[in-house]
Amino acid sequence: MTPAAPAETAMPLLEVRDLAHYYRQPDGSARLALSLNRLSAGRGEALAVVGPSGSGKTTFLHILAALIRPTEGDVAFDGQNLREMGRSGAAWRAASVGYVFQDVNLLPDFGLLENLMIAAEISGLSSGSASERAVSLLGRLGLADKTRNRPCRLSLGERQRAAVARAVLHSPPMVLADEPTASLDADNSRTVMSLLLELCVESQSLLIVATHDESVKKKLPRLVALEKPENTWHRGTPQ
């Protein structure tokens, strides 16, 4: 299965306009961390967000996950403006977003299956169906015999595969991956990306991957390039 071509539909799943985000500096000024004029993407698409360090890739993913509110601009997801999300942001994120991190970030005190089940519970899946899907996903990712193992007993590649399983477990409309292969060797990197793409296409999730990795960029049909803002300062207090 391959990711879909850019969406041409009248109502894209994700629409970004005139986005800018500033970080407050210790001296009270604000530094521009991210600037993106326009982006729209639909279900089943796969995008690579590329750019040099400091261009705001992680900030962009955090904005898409409604973890931070952008200083300027609008982000609409399925017609809903993420800027307007207050306390409901967590519930929306749990149901609508799957997240894969560079450093894996599984809960260290829990086994793999428990890690997936906690994520499933947060996302609102019923425990019966979540358990069945979690076991099936872990089996598919070659982790069937390690469901009870804690993360510290697994290789980095195995942990990242488990993190992929956690991100797609509830078939979210959008999966965000922040440098998912940066800590992996070439073989594991290929495996993880293939699985991520395959599972997102299956569930028709919009996949957005922030990456430096050339091999990853090649696998994704669409690139969104962010540039590092240069000397763009904003006096005053950012939101």
Partner: protein, 401 residues
């Protein structure tokens, strides 16, 4: 997240940092134990004193220190204050305001167990009108003739004497004063009175007079002296009227042992107040340490909290995890502390009972439960404080690079 899941995450967090968890629980448990023990000791000691003085309404004796009189007559410690004449006893006994008067004579002992010379009238003494007799022979019989003895419960169990056994009494309370010539025979054993008289050996007062024919018991040339008189008045007003009639007596005094014991306890109570204050400080300190331990543990988990938040966990679920960690630590600490405190108090009661013959005891009361309960609540509030502080800190995303 369901409460079951947040609870599971909290418990795993506590288990994954055993040293930190153990330290937090230990300080809570030890301070709870200290507070519980202080309370129980104070209450138990007061109860022991109250139980010991309960059978004694009024004690009449020769003029002297009322504390010494109570220590000697009620607690069977210290030296007698002096003797009064038998006819003084007869005067008390015949007084219309007195329902029952019992003569006591002290001064001898057997291996440290005090010999109490008295008459069978002592068997009529009761703690309250409706209560059973204070002294109850459970084995053998009460003394009837010369050189017969009845053992208190503890004397019987500790001294090795049994019914039919013979022993020689010694002059004085230490046994260093030399033995009397004639042996006594044990004819009965009493049920425990849960007080100092469990260590007594009762003999006929005539035996005491006979043994002291040539010295101490001779008062004003007469051979029949009495160390103290236990008097049971017919009423409260009669008691005070009776006591007032001795106020200007140059030779004799009346003492209400209950009042004297209260005065004694108020002196000890000042120490107890200080101990209670120290226990409160220890409890506050332990809760602070436990709260800090929870905070440090939480700070080490900022990454996990951020992860759960990114996964979509609600702020209240993250707060519940921190709160439950505090609550569980406080609960376990309070339960262990209550157990340790009670065990420590029981051990101390045993020691005090052995050393002083006062039998302190402290039955469980709601006041005692209030200590671990308030520590549990305070620990729970500490968990909430940590949760609130974490939430305040929570805007930083440690996962962000």
């Amino acid at each position: 997240m369901r409460l079951r899941t947040t609870s599971r995450i909290s418990l795993r967090h506590l288990r994954s940092k055993p040293l930190q968890t153990f330290s937090a629980i230990s300080v809570i448990a030890l301070s709870t134990a200290l507070a519980v023990m202080t309370l129980l000791l104070a209450r138990g000691f007061q109860q022991g004193l109250t139980d010991a003085v309960e059978p004694f309404d009024i004690v009449v004796s020769a003029k002297g220190s009322p504390y010494q009189l109570v220590l000697n007559t009620v607690f069977l410690r210290d030296a007698p204050v002096g003797n009064v004449r038998w006819r003084d006893y007869a005067g008390v006994s015949d007084d219309a305001r007195i329902e029952l008067a019992v003569p006591l004579a002290f001064g001898d002992s057997y291996r440290g167990y005090p010999i109490v010379g008295t008459t069978p009238k002592i068997l009529r003494m009761r703690k309250a009108p409706s209560a059973p007799p204070w002294l109850d022979v459970i084995e053998g019989r009460w003394f009837e003739g010369e050189r017969e003895a009845v053992l208190g419960a503890r004397t019987a169990s500790e001294s090795g004497l049994a019914i039919g056994g013979r022993f020689m009494t010694s002059h004085g309370m230490t046994g260093a004063g030399g033995e009397h010539e004639e042996p006594h025979e044990v004819v009965g054993i009493l049920r425990s009175v849960k007080g100092p008289y469990d260590r007594a050996i009762f003999v006929s007062i005539e035996d005491i007079w006979a043994a002291h024919e040539d010295h101490a018991m001779n008062i004003d040339g007469g051979r029949r002296g009495v160390t103290s008189i236990l008097a049971h008045p017919i009423s409260y007003s009669a008691a005070y009227s009776f006591a007032a009639s001795y106020q200007r007596d140059a030779r004799m005094q009346t003492v209400f042992p209950a009042q004297t014991a209260i005065r004694l306890f108020s002196i000890i109570g000042r120490g107890e107040g200080f101990l209670s204050a120290m226990a409160c400080v220890a409890v506050c300190f332990s809760l602070l340490v436990a709260t800090l331990a929870l905070y440090w543990s939480g700070a080490a988990r900022r990454r996990e909290r951020a992860l759960l938040r990114i996964l979509g966990a609600a702020g209240r679920s993250l707060a519940a995890i921190a709160w439950l960690e505090g609550t569980y630590s406080a609960l376990v600490g309070a339960v262990i502390g209550e157990t340790l405190g009670r065990a420590g108090a029981c051990a101390a009661f045993g020691f005090i009972g052995g050393a002083t013959a006062i039998m302190p005891h402290a039955p469980f009361t709601p006041m005692e439960a209030a200590i671990p309960a308030s520590i549990f609540i305070a620990g729970s509030i500490g968990g909430l404080a940590v949760a609130a502080f974490e939430r305040w800190e929570g805007d930083e995303l440690p996962l962000e690079r």
